[in-house]
């Protein structure tokens, strides 16, 4: 079946602009996660959605970052007033249910802020 898809695959933006990154999880997966992978660093958790519950935003690095999930499926990560340190690969993952179960990752969006 179809895996997690993300768009765009690459995004180059100027410092100060806003960007939106999209994630389509695997059909039937109720949990959705966003991570960030910076050069030379490991994957860093950003935010988690589970069903209709309030999202876990504990990993968002600043209030310039926000995310929403519509209809329990597609999610959008928005970064406002981008900075050069936001340059990274943004990865989305989904899992069948919450609680330590395997997460399946999309191919990522490579964001470059110039």
């Amino acid at each position: 079946g179809a895996g997690v898809s993300q768009s765009p695959s690459n995004k180059v933006t100027e410092k100060g602009k806003d960007v939106e990154l999209r994630c389509d999880p695997i059909s039937g997966h109720t949990a959705l996660y966003w991570y960030r992978q910076s050069l030379g660093q490991g994957l860093e958790f950003l935010i988690y959605f589970q069903g209709n519950s309030a999202p876990d935003k504990s990993g968002l690095p600043s209030d310039r970052f926000s995310a929403e999930r519509t209809g329990g499926s597609v999610s959008t990560l928005t970064i406002q007033r981008t900075q050069q340190e936001d340059s990274a690969v943004y990865l989305c993952a989904s899992s069948l249910r919450e609680g330590g179960y395997e997460q399946y990752f999309g191919p990522g969006t490579r964001l470059t802020v110039t």
Binding site: Y35, L43, Y48, D56, E102, F105, P107
Partner: protein
């Protein structure tokens, strides 16, 4: 604080030369430990989940084991196509549903 440390950072092997990758972890309570493979320019690909000490999982040339403090990914007779970065992650009980990842081991298998 939950921590995951992987070693070595990089490993060069000749084709057929078996070896092991290490993942040491410190968590207040382990819900699960995960191994992923990541190829350049791609997202991590799920390999294994281990839940309790003593558990082992196998897939082709890979075998993952778990103790109370660490996990090993054993690679038997590797082939060049096994070259990738291998990531270890833990799901602690007290951290909601996020995974805490190690820095990864970059494996290069020469023919």
């Amino acid at each position: 604080e939950d921590q995951v440390t992987q070693s070595p950072e990089a490993l060069r092997l000749q084709e057929g030369e078996s070896s092991s990758l290490n993942c040491s972890y410190t968590v207040s309570g382990l819900r699960g430990l995960f191994w992923y493979r990541q190829d350049p320019g791609k997202g991590p690909e799920f390999l294994f989940t281990l839940y309790s000490a003593g558990e082992e999982k196998e897939k082709e040339r890979l075998k993952a084991t778990l103790t109370k403090k660490e996990s090993f990914l054993h690679i038997t007779a590797p082939k060049p196509e096994d070259s990738a970065t291998y990531l270890c992650a833990v799901a602690p009980y007290n951290a909601g549903n996020m995974l805490t990842f190690g820095g990864g081991t970059r494996l290069m298998v020469k023919p």
